[in-house]
Symmetry: D2
Subunit: 150 residues, 4 copies
C-alpha cells in the first residue's frame, strides 16, 4: 500500500487497514491490496484449485468476490460506512487455477447518499475477465479510526 | 435430491451430480443441493465465521456465490454446457454468520442460445437477502453422462 | 384504476394521478395505468410504428420506458418522492409494432432508503419480452397531495 | 460522421447509415450520430419538454434509449447483426429539458457470440448522467450492404 501523503490519503489507508483486519473472506481468497487512494482501490489474488466450479474453471463467485472487495475498500475510503446495494458483472473470459487476477475499482460518480463504481478484473496477461459495476449506499455512520497515521 | 421420475428429470439430476463432484468452491461454501428439476434448482448453505467481510457481516460474494451455483445447476439441467455471461444482484438485507441461506433458481425464459434466470436467496426467517438475475449462454457442447439412471 | 378502499390505497392512487398529469413521455408512449396498489403497478401500452429501431422491431428503449414508468408509479405509492438509481433489463423476446405490452411492477423488498422492484413486461400472448429490475432511492421529500380522496 | 478511411471503417459507417434510415425511434428522439468507428459510437441528442416524467425531469427511458441506440450502432459496426440481450444503467445525475446529452459507446470485450459494451452519457457540462453497460449477442446473419463506399 502506498504511503499516506495527505489527510485524505491517510484516512483512506487507515479505513482500509481496519476493514482488512476483520475481512476473513478476503483473507481466505488471498486478496492483497496493492494501492488505495480516495475513491480507488487496486487488489490482487491468485486463483487456487479449491476455487473451481463444476467445469474446472474458476467459480464465478471468485472474480465477483475480488471485485466486491475492491469496491468495498474503494467506496469506504472517505470514512463513511458504505455498503453495496446492487452489483452487476459480465464475464468475457474464463479464469483458470493459477491465474493472477487484479481488480481496479474507480469511483464513476458520487452524490451524498449513492455512488457508482466501475471495477475491472484482469488476468496476468491483461485480459479483462470480469467487468463489474457497483452501486453503493453511504450511511450516516463513520469508521472508527484508532490512529490514522500509524 | 428428489428421485428421477422422467427422462428429463433423470438428465437434470445426472448433470448436476457430475457438476457437484468437481465443484470445489461450492463444497468449500458447504452448498447442499436440495432439489433439482428441469430449469430449476434449490440450494442451501450455512454462513460460517470465515465468510465475513470488513464489517463483520457476510461478504457480498457469499450470497452471490450461492446464487451463482444455483444458477449454474439450474441452467445446465437440459444437458447443454451452459455458462453465465452477465449476472446482477441486489442486497436488501445483511447476512450474518450462522444464517442459513436458501437459493431458488428458476428459468424465466429461454431461447436457443440465451436464457434468463431469477434466483432469490432467503435467510432462515424467509427474508430475501439477495435478489439475483443471471443471463446464460448455451454452448453447442453436451455434458458427458456416465450413467444417467444411477 | 381501481377505486381507493383504504387510506394507503387512496394515497397510492392520488400520487400516481399527480405523476401521470406531468408525465409527458409516458403520454407520448400511450401508457395506461390499469391498476395501482401500495408497492404495485400494472401499466399497458401499444407499440406504434414510430417506436421501431434500425431492425424494424421495437427499440429496446420502448419496453424499458414502459417498465421504468411502472417502476416509478409503484415505488412512489407510499407518498415519498422516490427515484430510480440503477435498473437492469433482459430482453428474451423481440417486440413488434402492434404488440400490446403489459408491465407488472412489484416491490421485492424495501428498507428505509433503498427498495428493490421487479417489473415483468409481457406481450398480448403472455410471453415475457422484458425482465426488468429496479433499485430505487426514497428521498426525505413527500408528494404534495391536493385532495387524496377525490 | 467522419469519412471512411479503411475497409473496416467503411463497413462500420455503411452499417450504421442503413440502421439509422429505419430507426424511427432514434429519429423521434433527435439522435445525431457524431462518430462511428469499429466497436465505437458517439451519439448526441437534446432533451425536449415532451420527454419529461412525473417529476418534470427527463424520463429515465430517454437517457437509456440514447445509450441503447449508441450500443446498437457500435455493436453492429463489424457487419454482423447484433442484438442487446441484457443492459443495465445507473443514474448519477438528473437530466432536464434543454440538456444536450452525448453518449459514448465503447466495446469492452468481444468473443464470437457475446460482447460487452460500456456506454457513458454526459450532459453539456461533461457530467455523467447515465452509466450504462450492454451485453450483446452476435447472430450469424450479416447486414445487407448496398454500397459501402457511397
Amino acid at each position: 500500500m502506498t504511503e499516506p501523503r495527505t489527510d485524505e490519503q491517510a484516512l483512506a489507508a487507515s479505513v482500509v487497514r481496519g476493514m482488512l483486519e476483520r475481512d476473513a473472506f478476503s483473507r481466505w481468497l488471498g486478496i492483497d491490496v496493492l494501492a488505495i487512494a480516495p475513491g480507488r482501490c487496486t487488489a490482487r489474488m491468485t486463483v487456487r484449485p479449491e476455487m473451481v466450479n463444476g467445469f474446472g474453471v474458476a467459480h464465478g463467485g471468485v472474480a465477483y468476490a475480488l471485485a466486491d472487495s475492491a469496491l468495498a475498500f474503494a467506496s469506504n475510503t472517505n470514512g463513511r460506512v458504505t455498503v453495496a446495494i446492487e452489483n452487476n458483472i459480465g464475464y468475457p473470459t474464463a479464469v483458470h487455477p493459477g491465474n493472477v487476477l487484479t481488480a481496479e475499482a474507480v469511483e464513476v460518480s458520487a452524490a451524498n447518499r449513492v455512488a457508482f463504481y466501475a471495477v475491472t478484473v484482469r488476468n496476468e496477461a491483461g485480459v479483462t475477465v470480469a467487468d463489474f459495476r457497483g452501486t453503493v449506499y453511504r450511511t450516516g455512520q463513520h469508521h472508527e479510526l484508532r490512529d490514522p497515521q500509524s
